[in-house]
Amino acid sequence: MVHQLLPIAAVDFNTLPQQLVLGIGIGAVYALVALGYTMVYGVLKLINFAHAEVFMLGAYTALFTAWYLGFSPQSLQALERESSWLNLLIMLLASMVICAIIGVIIERFAYRPMRSQPRIAILITAIGVSLLLQYGGALFLPVSPPPSIDERVNPYRGAYTITLSRPSDRLLGQKEELERQYQESNVAFEKQLEKEKSRFDLSPQGIALRNAKQEAERALRKVTDEIAASGRELKLPRGQMIMLGATLILMLILRHLVLYTRTGRAMRAASHDFDTASLMGISVDKIVTVTFIIGSALAGAGAMMQATFIGTPLTTFYGVSLGVKAFVAAVLGGIGNIPGAVLGAMVLAIAETLVVWADGSKWKDAIAFVILIAVLLFKPGGLLGSSKVEKV
């Protein structure tokens, strides 16, 4: 490759900006989920293992809503009309509302009865709830073949392309020429094939034509690669732009809620010192409920957007890997710290993209854990948090 600066295997600086764009999109989802972990941890000092399953159920809610709106596998064949932004909004709100309800139910019936127990007991309950939703969900939800939200529900498909630097006209001309040659040789070969006995038993003439075709294909690919390497463009998938925008709006709303409302102040007080807050007449149950509502609704938003705009197939284990990563993001930013969760999410997502970019995609899922262990060992308070000395 031309622009290689370091003797690092398979690193191509031209693809870096594109990778970063993708990374930020993933980071947005991590951030939305990480906020739920961090807020619940702040108030209850509990790693809400079931949060990942709330996310999973949010994705399923989005799926069912999309089906209900006419984008189900049966009705899609006959689908004529285009989707609209309204559909997306309905899906988003549905996911957020349902997730909020599920979060509150889990808190009310599984965590609240445990509040006087040691923390480990609540943690085990959380693990239990998480497993129950994963495996119990698999009994009732469609899991095989894994359904996914049809991309046609998103009216904003495709990508904006930003050209950073154009490839030379000479190369572009060459490419056009080669493309034509390739087409011709291909057609010639196909014609010849009709005369042949079989594709694998060619006459000398057929072999010559096949070689010519392959030659043309190789030349074309070489030029295409060169163009890719010399011209730089940035593709901004429109879905992901919406995702970022929506995340930003949600964060601003959250910021307002936390900083400028009574409930938000009470929440921060409870997060600072739970027992004192309850002594000061703050209704702790209410605060915990609100925390679960907000955290779960954000997870629901993240789930809807990931399922719709990134479009991965759903299973009841949809939240597992993402949940752990979002938790790592929360710890990385400083658990209990709201801006920290967002920062941690972005750092983690970008770290993952960089690993993929440096040709380490098979290690992508390990990087979160490596970061986690490193943070806990060297800066247990996280990037923005401060580590507290335990009172004795």
Partner: protein, 411 residues
């Protein structure tokens, strides 16, 4: 110390292992395999109990050590068994040792962060460690290098995402159960000495334990190393029993299953862990064998029954202020009433066609039952079925004679 009693119990233990072997030879291969796996799960649960229950270090990645033992020894056997010319059982013992050493080194690595981390943080780290081990195996073989320029060595091929197979088969049921017995004995012995108390003190209160001069660091790391050594040895036995192992054999849910066994049995209770391991291992097999699917109606009825029982029992625990005897009677009544209601509902609900037609295979319910029992135990008896009790003849007599104190078994 009475050496005579000691000798007799050692002989009895070994005899018990051979008895299991002899009896199981009378069954088919699949039952034999179940007996073998049950023995391995007893080892896993009891060894995790040492870390979780006795030392109080909340680890939820125990399967990783099992995996390390299995893969290390599987690989070694494939490479070297043929040339070694050793008889199977001797080689297997050697492999158990190798698996134990590798796993306990890994235990050391995981134990170190536990020095600075408590409770839930440690849990996440152990979980992450398990995932890292799995990812390493899945990605094998790979070169360990400095950004692709300076190659240190090549990590051996462990089958990647596919199976590591053609491991020489060495199936010694007695050895599997002997490991379980040794594991139980070691934990029991520990708890009978002052050393064991030091382990327990770390669980009870780390700060106080430090203030009493207990080297908490050393104890935590030791607990991790001993616990994972047993898991590693169990892994070695598994690899040579199954002859083919997959990364998914050791996935996260295996760790959760082992954890459930420990929690359900009673954190800290060796008896509890061992019995829970056998029960929880047998349960899904029973479900699997029962070919008749569970209908939606039956399932729903059972769920309602269980919820009713939990709610009633919690009511008796928290709101009812009667004598202890009356409370115990209340628990029994709650369970009985819920069972009757569930039984009645079964018929009623199955009469609804939609519920009758939706049927599950029993085996799919396995993890659902585990998860459900985890929550239920936490809600009504967080200390686990056996709590901190151990089986002993005096304890059994006490339980049987004084009925009301037998909640330990009742709930």
């Amino acid at each position: 110390m009475n050496w005579g009693v000691r000798a007799v119990s050692i002989v009895a233990a070994v005899g018990f292992c051979f008895l299991i072997q002899t009896v199981s030879l009378g069954f088919g291969a699949d039952i034999q395999r179940l007996i073998a796996l049950a023995g391995l799960y007893v080892t896993l649960a009891v060894s995790l109990n040492l870390i979780n229950g006795i030392t109080g270090q909340f680890s939820i990645g125990h399967a990783a050590f099992y995996m390390i033992g299995a893969y290390t020894t599987g690989y070694l056997s494939i490479q070297f068994l043929k040339n070694s010319g050793m008889p199977g059982p001797v080689w297997l013992l050697l492999m158990m040792l190798a698996g134990a050493i590798m796993a306990s080194l890994a235990g050391l690595v995981v134990g170190l962060p536990s020095l600075r981390l408590k409770g839930d943080y440690l849990a996440i780290v152990t979980l992450g460690f398990g995932e890292i081990v799995r990812i390493i195996v899945v990605n094998s073989p790979f070169d360990v290098s400095f950004f692709g320029v300076f190659k240190f060595f090549t990590f051996p091929n462990l089958g990647g995402a596919y199976a590591l197979d053609k491991i020489p088969a060495i199936r010694e049921l007695w050895l599997i159960w002997l490991l379980a017995v040794v594991c139980i004995a070691v934990c029991r012995n520990l708890l009978k000495t002052a050393h064991g108390l030091a382990f327990l003190s770390v669980r009870e209160d780390e700060v106080a334990s430090l203030a009493m001069g207990v080297n908490v660091t050393r104890i935590k790391v030791t607990a991790f190393m001993i616990g994972s050594a047993f898991a590693g040895a169990a892994g070695a036995l598994l690899a040579h029993y199954e002859t083919s192992i997959l990364p998914s054999t050791f996935a996260m849910d295996v760790s959760f299953i082992i954890l459930t066994m420990v929690v359900l049995g009673g954190t800290g209770s060796i008896t509890g862990s061992a019995l829970a391991a056998i029960t929880l291992f047998a349960l899904p097999e029973v479900l699997r064998r029962n070919k008749e699917p569970v209908t939606g109606g039956t399932f729903l009825a059972i769920v309602i029954g269980v919820i009713a029982a939990v709610v009633l029992i919690r009511w008796f625990q928290n709101e009812y202020h009667g004598s202890k005897n009356k409370k115990t009677a209340g628990y029994f009544a709650s369970v009985a009433a819920s069972a009757i209601v569930a039984f009645g509902l079964t018929f009623a609900l199955n009469a609804i066609p939609a519920l009758h037609d939706k049927a599950f295979e029993g085996s799919k319910l396995r993890m659902v039952i585990f998860a459900g029992s985890l929550i239920i135990v936490m809600l009504i008896r967080p200390e686990g079925v056996f709590a901190h009790h151990e089986f002993s003849w005096t304890w059994l007599k006490k339980v049987l004679r004084i009925k009301p104190k037998s909640e330990a078994l009742a709930t």
